[in-house]
Subunit: 441 residues, 2 copies
């Protein structure tokens, strides 16, 4: 294999053979192919795409670049969920214990905050003592013991993706459906699942701003998942405003605790119940997604989901006293209400701007090695469709540096648009996709 010939082949829009993909990707992982050749190839893929077969072979090569975990010793259909990420997207924190409480094993491997979005790992790590860096052996033991586990990608799982992802991030080759599909699905298919539910977000706070792109991505991910024999269902959900009210790590955990205790937040729980319904359905514990949703609601009402969450936190080293009594948690030193000084109905929120405001408070990373301030963040009080009075706070900012408070307030202020006329609230879930296609709700 001559690497430059494979770059040229892709540049010319040709399809690489399975053998060529394997040599190119593995050559990159073991250092024979330098970053600059992979970077040129990735940009060529950005422009030329991949054929259906090529994308599946690419995913296969990525999966087998590392350990493929075998969870077949655990009875039942193992189901995971993946979200393409957003602002205030804390669904996994509730969903994993909730679905596990319904008797479905949930082996979940999550990521960190990326760009303006938050990450499940960062949120979980805001719980004092909680460890997400379990090795594969502990991962297996935990899921076997309590039916749920939440960890980060280890160095053994899809190392090709890990290395390529870091490169894509700095070479403007992130926004490319076959590369996104290979990245997501290689990790998910290596973790030992039998079925997968996808939450593909769209809107101003999502990576796929356009709904049509989100649908295309969902279909592609489902196509890849099904081709590997994993039943896959996807939902297209709204990311034009934060999901729930909290943005920021511990603030979001607190919100999840309240929801698990039955204090429902409408948009967050509508999405959570729908995804849970699909997971329970795929896990064989209900005859339909709707029935699965009812099963999930019962698990919240009975307290079983919260109980499972306590068990999960305890098992992964977290201090459950903070979960039982969240007010024990340290508060950010400063907080300030955001008041627009004008009235109307919230017609639009630049949710990317809210995500950036979250970063500014200290809740996210501006550079890769920044540390996170777990107490920092934003609580949103007014969402799309809500009426705002002249003196009403639309949000409250929490931070430990005064300058960051002011910067975040400014950014949030700029993100809101008011209208004199009443505005309909947003739809939370746009539709569903499975191997047969996409259905708009």
């Amino acid at each position: 294999m001559i690497p430059v010939e494979l770059i040229k082949k892709k540049r010319e829009g040709e399809v690489l053979t399975p053998d060529e993909l394997q040599k190119f990707v593995n050559g990159y992982v073991n250092g024979e192919i330098p970053d600059y050749q992979m970077a040129a190839w990735l940009m060529a893929v950005y422009f030329q795409g991949m054929s259906d077969t090529e994308m599946k072979e690419f995913t296969r090569v990525m999966i087998h670049s590392g350990t493929v975990i075998d969870l077949s010793f655990i009875p039942g259909v193992k189901v995971d969920k993946h979200s393409t990420g957003g602002v205030g997207d804390k669904v996994s924190v509730i969903l994993a214990p909730l679905v596990a409480a319904c008797g479905i094993p949930v082996p979940m491997i999550s990521g960190r905050g990326l760009g303006h979005t938050g990450g499940t790992l960062d949120k979980l790590e805001s719980i004092p003592g909680f460890r997400t860096d379990l090795d594969i052996d502990s991962y297996k033991k935990t899921i076997e013991k309590i039916g749920v586990v939440m960890i980060g990608q280890t160095k053994d799982i899809a190392p090709a993706d890990k290395k390529m992802y870091a490169l894509r991030d700095v070479t403007a080759t992130v926004e490319c459906i076959p590369l996104i599909a290979g990245s997501i699905m290689s990790k998910k298919l290596a973790e030992g699942i039998d079925a997968l539910v996808l939450d593909v977000k769209t809107g101003s706070g999502a990576f796929m701003r356009k709904k049509s792109e989100a649908i295309e991505l969902a279909k592609t991910l489902i196509n890849v998942g099904e081709s590997f024999g994993k039943r896959t269902i996807g939902f297209i959900t709204d990311m034009n405003q934060p999901l729930g009210n909290a943005v920021g790590n511990w603030l979001e955990i607190e919100e999840c605790i309240r929801c698990m205790k039955g204090n429902e937040i409408q948009d967050l729980m509508e999405v959570t119940y729908r995804l849970a319904g699909a997971m329970i359905y795929l896990g064989g514990k209900s005859g339909s997604i709707e029935e699965g949703e009812s099963v999930a609601r019962e698990a919240i009402e009975s307290g079983a989901a919260f109980e499972k969450f306590l068990q999960l936190v305890n098992e992964q080293g977290g201090d459950v006293s903070y979960i039982e009594n969240p007010t024990r948690y340290k508060k950010a030193e400063y907080n300030k209400e955001v008041v627009l000084g004008k009235e109307g109905f919230v017609s639009e929120i630049d949710n990317y701007g809210i995500g950036i405001a979250g970063l500014i408070t200290g809740a996210g990373r501006r550079k890769i090695d920044d540390s996170i301030d777990y107490t920092a963040g934003i609580i949103i009080h007014k969402k799309i469709g809500d009426r705002v009075g002249k003196e009403d706070p639309i949000a409250t900012v929490y931070a430990n540096e005064k300058k960051n408070v002011e910067d975040a307030v400014l950014r949030i202020t700029e993100a809101y648009r008011l209208s004199d006329d009443a505005v309909e609230p947003r739809q939370y879930i746009y539709g569903m996709a499975d191997k047969n296609g996409y259905y708009d709700y």
Copy 2:
């Protein structure tokens, strides 16, 4: 400047500002921007191109990445020639002393063999003692003293191009007109010339296989040259068979000596005289290109051109006794005639294959640090349109390793196509381009 934002900008087909281009290219030269980001950007340029202004600014940045030589202390219009390269393209070796003999200063910076093509520097260095690595000071003194100098790109001239060219070669981003234009013109515009003649080759042995691409490249190069105030004329010439008969370094020098002594080889000298005519015209020593051609023919016939070549060789450390008496030069240990064993008229030559056969004999490099065998190469006996008898040799291969002889013979055999019907010889020069457009002959 955030490098990934500039990559994204180009990926989206936007135009980079002069400031952005400067920061990106200079950042690459000084090591702030790594190879992988430049590689991704180059591939984005491959797909999205550059605007006219952008390409000129890009060239300007490349020029000013190093020393811009000032030759204004030398009287007269300094004219150089650039060829896009081919098989057996030895024109510069004759042209530079020839035009200098007509009173026009010729400061020439040439390259080495690239891919299947030969390079002027390698050919000159086959002359024992000839040095092409003069520093800028010696370069200036030589042109001042004898009116001609032929060197290689020094580390001071357009270092951005030097570094980017090496990267393009291994990332499949060579074949891209704005990048080619920036590369060629930055070197030429940094060497202190006032005017430039271009030989843009097209055909099976050229980088631009299609005539339409060659015309587009010629127009682009002229556009850039003229925008920097340098009068630029280009010719589109044929590269569907070797130019002249010799392929290989010393073999080509020998052929040049014969031509300079008046033993004309038709295709080689037709191209040489046309380019010389244009250089003499741009140098102000004739009223037209045609008149310039006549001036050039006289300089060959009078022996002035050969005299100037002897002077050049001597000045740059070469042993003139080999030029005066080429039979003194060592011969390759092995030689073999290529006989097809069938008869007909030569209808087609895969000139890329001839170039590769040249590499195989040892006349070129397969890897970047291979050494060159100056005595190796090919003498072509039959060209397109020639009649070949069953026992006629179509070429003779020269090499110092027996296996290479056989491999080269095979490759040459495969490159020839014969026809039963008579075939017209090829046109040598297709047309001419200047700032007003392209004219087909």
